[in-house]
């Protein structure tokens, strides 16, 4: 008995220590990425000035202009555009799935959604170029490579995120909440609207924010559809370039300060995404 106990406790220690090492090393990678980007990107901020980068309108890195303001605006525009399209669609879908669909339909639709999330973004971009860009060109004018086309494609891409997190938070509203409402003579829709959705509010909000995080970080589909012009769009049919697009398009040939400028773009992107994640976590925590 004594021997076995000792062996068990040694084994427990080994498992624990191994897991600790793995856990710490993944944290370390994250930390290294962060440090690396900061080391590469920060010097340019010091050299050119924070204001000239973040609020600069002109991006001509080989001539010493590193203004990424139009790209920041463009990133936010496509993100909000995606949200305007994805949020109502995704939330309706989550409500339908959670409250109206039968068990069998749920069992088919949930995996289908997960599949949707697994489609590579280049496929979304490809479909966007083939179907959405021509339709926009036809009916709204312009080249079709535009804010609206990008928003539509991103709106569809963030659907799985919004649906699955909203669905989970709607499902986690206790059955007794609904029963209390029904017992007071509420209809199904009144119960959903006045009891279930308010109770699931923070999870739904978190799903929107995580969807935004996905949209603002999306690269491949965006460079295929956005048109990548270096100005702030004034119309939904104007082309635009996002922060992610900027990095992906130029990294291959950028050298010297140009290369550093792309790292600065990366820092700004990283900060925006971290802020969104923080907001989403904040929302989720408040629910618990």
């Amino acid at each position: 008995m004594v021997h076995m106990n000792r062996w068990v406790s040694i084994r427990e220690k080994i498992v624990k220590n191994t897991l600790t090492v793995f856990a710490l090393s993944s944290l370390l990678f994250l930390f290294l990425i962060f440090i690396f980007i900061l080391i590469e990107g920060l010097p340019l901020f010091l050299k050119v000035g924070l204001k000239n980068i973040i609020f600069g309108f002109k991006w001509a890195p080989t001539k010493g202009y590193f203004g990424i303001f139009p790209m920041i605006i463009s990133s936010f525009l496509v993100t909000f555009g995606a949200l305007i399209i994805g949020a109502p669609l995704g939330l309706s879908c989550a409500i339908y799935l959670a409250e109206y669909s039968g068990k069998r339909l749920k069992m088919i639709l949930k995996p289908a959604l997960e599949l949707l999330a697994g489609i590579p973004s280049v496929v979304y971009g490809f479909l966007g170029v083939i179907y959405i860009v021509p339709i926009v060109r036809e009916y709204l004018g312009g080249s079709g490579f535009s804010l609206i086309s990008t928003s539509i494609v991103l709106g569809i891409m963030i659907l799985p995120t919004i649906i699955s997190i909203s669905f989970d938070s709607i499902m986690s509203v206790p059955r007794s909440y609904r029963e209390g409402s029904y017992a007071m003579g509420a209809t199904k829709w009144q119960t959903i609207f006045k009891v279930v959705l308010p109770a699931a509010r923070s999870g739904i909000l978190a799903s929107f924010i995580l969807g935004m995080g996905r949209a603002i970080g999306e690269t491949m589909a965006v460079i295929m559809i956005a048109g990548n012009a270096l100005k702030i769009p004034t119309n939904i049919t104007d082309p635009l370039r996002t922060l992610t697009g900027n990095i992906a398009l130029e990294l291959a040939y950028a050298t010297g300060d140009h290369r550093l400028g792309l790292f600065s773009t990366g820092i700004v992107l990283l900060i925006i995404i971290m802020a969104l994640n923080y907001l989403a976590n904040f929302g989720i925590k408040r629910r618990i």
Binding site: Y182, G185, A186, V195
Partner: protein, 251 residues
């Protein structure tokens, strides 16, 4: 007696299991009828038939009739939502909405389209008084209802039911989680309320049934074993099972 609810040969099946086995019972108007019996005897199922909450269960089969004022409420024509506005239900665990005390009670009237501030205040305060809760909350109607004590929350749920002016109030073990003082307050409220309402009280506490109900029913494994005036059931039961249950030999 003046019959409010007439249950006629009611059989309920979940999947293949017969949960209620041909229940026949007449429930008197403006009286308190107590339902007692060990866990699993079908009391809650019977309650959920009367308020049609059973509609939310899958794989249920119902046979027989439940007449309220001579209308069969199991009929397809009956709209369960309007039925539930005539039948209030208080559950074992009080679940206030995550809103203020006032809004919890105003919820039902608002659903019916009443939005006038003064009218709402009047009906909210009326039902809080009837539920014996008014004195404890009148100065803090804006406070979140979830901050009330368990006993207060249960009376809030009673008030929330009363505000709809139902004809029937169903209470499914309303005092099971409450301290004796809160229990006494609920009992006091119920004894007062029976003048206006038909009340069905499910309780696993036989003493409570004996204290406040006018008629008592004893259920066992889906059957109605004994039914009569509370006095008769508790002093001179006709079935051995009833006597054993009341005297605490099983349950």
């Amino acid at each position: 007696m003046d019959v409010k609810i007439k249950i006629d040969n009611l059989r309920v099946y979940f999947e293949k299991n017969e949960i209620l086995k041909g229940i026949k019972i007449n429930i008197a108007k403006n009286m308190i009828t107590g339902f007692m019996g060990p866990a699993g005897s079908g009391k809650s199922t019977l309650i959920s038939i009367i308020n049609r909450m059973i509609d939310f269960e899958d794989n249920v089969k119902i046979e027989g009739r439940v007449l309220i004022d001579d209308i069969n409420i199991l009929d397809k024509e009956i709209n369960p939502v309007s039925l539930r506005r005539r039948i209030g239900t208080v559950f074992a665990v009080p679940i206030p909405l995550q809103r203020s005390i006032f809004e919890n009670i105003a919820y039902g009237p608002r659903l019916k389209g009443i939005n006038d501030k003064i009218e709402l205040f009047k009906i909210v305060s009326d039902s809080l008084k009837k539920a014996f809760l008014w004195d404890e909350v009148k100065d803090r109607l804006d406070m979140s209802a979830t901050k009330l004590s368990g006993g207060q929350q249960q009376r809030l749920c009673l008030a929330r039911t009363l505000v709809l002016k139902p004809e029937i109030i169903l209470l499914d073990e309303p005092c099971s989680g409450l301290d004796p003082i809160s229990t006494a307050k609920i009992e006091e409220a119920l004894s007062e309320l029976k003048k206006e309402y038909t009340i069905v009280l499910v309780s696993n506490n036989t003493k409570q049934i004996a204290r406040i109900s006018d008629y008592s029913a004893f259920f066992y494994l889906g059957e109605l074993i004994e039914y009569g005036t509370t006095e008769k059931v508790f002093t001179n039961p006709s079935q051995k099972k009833t006597e054993d249950y009341i005297s605490g030999k099983f349950g």
